[in-house]
Amino acid sequence: MNIVVCVKQVPDTATERKLRSDDNTLDRDAADGVVNELDEYAVEEALKLKEAHGGEVTVLTMGPGKATETIRKALAMGADKAVHLSDDALHGSDALSTSYAMAQALNKVGFDLVVLGSESTDARTGVLAAMLAERLGVAQLTLANKVDVDGTSITIQRITDYGYDRVEATLPAVVSVVEKINEPRYPSFKGIMAAKKKPVETLAIGDASIDPSQVGLAAAWSEVVDFAAAPPRAAGTIVKDEGDGGAKAAEFLASKKFI
């Protein structure tokens, strides 16, 4: 089975994240880049499927040159090779154009199954799996907490408020995963050394037949017009319980229009 796992480099949530003042896009140089957390679960699931069914795992990342660091991490975990879609023309792409560019890359690379995280920690639109499936003309199975492949059919389980859904489709397909699905492995020291020798193919937009007029900041349907830092948190109110603590707490909540 030919599995492609989509891995996004995001700014470390533990560091301060900023937008650029010139074009209001994310300042990717300002923070340490790390693998989007859910994408580690996607890599783990892809590796498990490969271990069970054979085949190959390819990492696909769209991002600036710096994103090679996160590609190496996915390779160190055990993926076989990587495709890095990287081009200045892609800077500022919104979700629609990102899905277009990645779909073009996926068509070029070829796949039986595409595995994604269900959401990134920076943009958090959570739409990419659906958009990719639509563009590729294959089934979408989203928010999976369990994946089974049997021949050419794939079944996922999705937790819901009332129990869980079982969704079945025929390969090829796009799957997005949630963190309940598995426990991502650590890379091993040997895996890290081996990753340095694994092939990483870099694609510019021309290599993936991506139309430059459909990507980048100029083509974006959504535009960030302005932004401001979140206001610092105001000091809390301390309610001392002198027998009337409950009433005071309720009063406070009412004053904030919570109750």
Partner: protein, 379 residues
């Protein structure tokens, strides 16, 4: 605080990054709970083994990491910064692999080392006996030759990871005198081998230390490592390396204590200023930092000599002496920095001080280190 390390190459940097990631996620998050409840961290050593951290200074052909001591010891130090007991057990496991690697036949190495170095088999080191600690040559546990191998009878003491480890580097008597001790690779499941209740220790609570009782268990002949009678030589050369591991553990522990103390001293206010800004306390912290840095410099110097193929026994003893004395002083002073709070179990510095004490005792007490050093001087 992240220690700014001098490392020989990018691979070593990647290894330290991997160690930090695992240590932050798997050690730092679990240490308080296990040290308090005195429970063993099930599965943790399998994780360390899977990541390749349990065979670092051994050759890659046998499944090791092919790392120099200079790098391996800094990995141990990073582990010790989060969890001393786990770092010590890792160092002891590495020590337990030493006899097979250095003195085993090619068949013995190929048969056992891949599983040992990958951490699929966890090792213990069984030299001490109730009456034979510093005076290891006074050991009496017997290994008698029988038709199928060696029959082991006697009592061993103080085994780190005792009862849990899968194999033990065991030292027992096949004859008289200092040339009468032999080394064996004993399986932990040998019939006729039983372990005592874990000792009730001052620290290192999460990894048990036990005695072992050998009641006529028979080890196959191919479990003898090296020649008959070569045991003490093997034990002492293993300990030269093991001491460096303990020096690294002590350095990591001291670093952790320093970090906690500095952070606290920047927060705590008395007489209208941060306590770090009172010169009397700032100088205490400065001495602590000097202790940590000199401990690291000393063990790394010995390690680099070892890596260069130079004699390093004296330097290893100096490193063990300097680093463990520094750890005792630094952790004691860290409690001082915390004042009354430091004397409570609310804060990690209280545990660090208890953990530091053992570093001056095992793998040769610091009196024995001085004995080794002075004998080198008298040569």
């Amino acid at each position: 605080m992240t220690v700014d390390r001098l490392l020989p190459d990018q691979d070593a940097k990647d290894l330290i990054d991997l160690t930090r990631e695992i240590a932050d996620k798997e050690l730092a998050r679990r240490v308080d709970e296990h040290e308090r409840a005195e429970t063993y961290p099930d599965g943790l050593f399998a994780t360390l083994g899977g990541a390749g951290l349990l065979g670092l200074p051994y050759p890659e052909e046998l499944g090791g990491g092919g790392q120099p001591y200079e790098v391996y010891l800094q990995v141990i130090e990073e582990l010790a910064m989060r969890w001393a007991a786990v770092a010590v057990a890792t160092s002891v496991h590495t020590l337990a692999c030493f006899p097979v690697h250095a003195y085993g036949t090619p068949e013995q190495r190929e048969r056992w080392l891949p599983d040992m170095l990958a951490g699929r088999l966890i090792g213990g080191y069984s030299l001490s006996e109730p009456q034979a600690g510093s005076d290891a040559g006074a050991l009496t546990c017997k290994a008698e030759r029988v038709e199928t191998g060696y029959r082991i009878t006697g009592n061993k003491a103080w085994i780190t990871h005792g009862g849990i480890a899968d194999f033990y580097a065991l030292f027992a008597r096949t004859g008289e005198g200092s040339r009468g001790v032999s080394c064996f690779l004993a399986p932990g499941t040998a019939e006729g081998l039983s372990f005592g209740r874990p000792e009730e220790k001052m620290g290192l609570h999460a990894v048990p230390t036990t005695s072992a009782h050998w009641d006529g268990a028979v080890l196959a002949g191919d479990r003898l490592i090296g020649e008959e009678g070569q045991g003490l030589q093997i034990a002492f050369s293993a300990l030269d390396s093991g001491r460096l591991g303990i020096a690294a553990c002590a350095t990591g522990l001291a670093q952790a204590a320093l970090d906690e103390a500095v952070a606290y001293a920047k927060e705590r206010q008395t007489f209208g200023k941060r306590i770090i800004d009172h010169q009397g306390l700032g100088f205490l912290l400065a001495d602590m930092a000097a202790g940590v840095d000199s401990a690291r410099a000393t063990y790394l110097d010995a390690a680099r000599r070892r890596d260069a193929g130079l004699p390093y026994g004296r330097q290893a003893s100096v490193a063990k002496l300097v680093a463990t004395d520094a750890a005792m002083k630094v952790t004691t002073d860290a409690v001082q920095v915390f004042g009354g709070y430091g004397y409570t179990r609310e804060f990690r510095v209280e545990r660090y001080m208890r953990e530091a004490k053992i570093m001056q005792i095992f793998e040769g007490t610091n009196q024995i280190q001085r004995l080794v050093i002075s004998r080198h001087l008298a040569k």
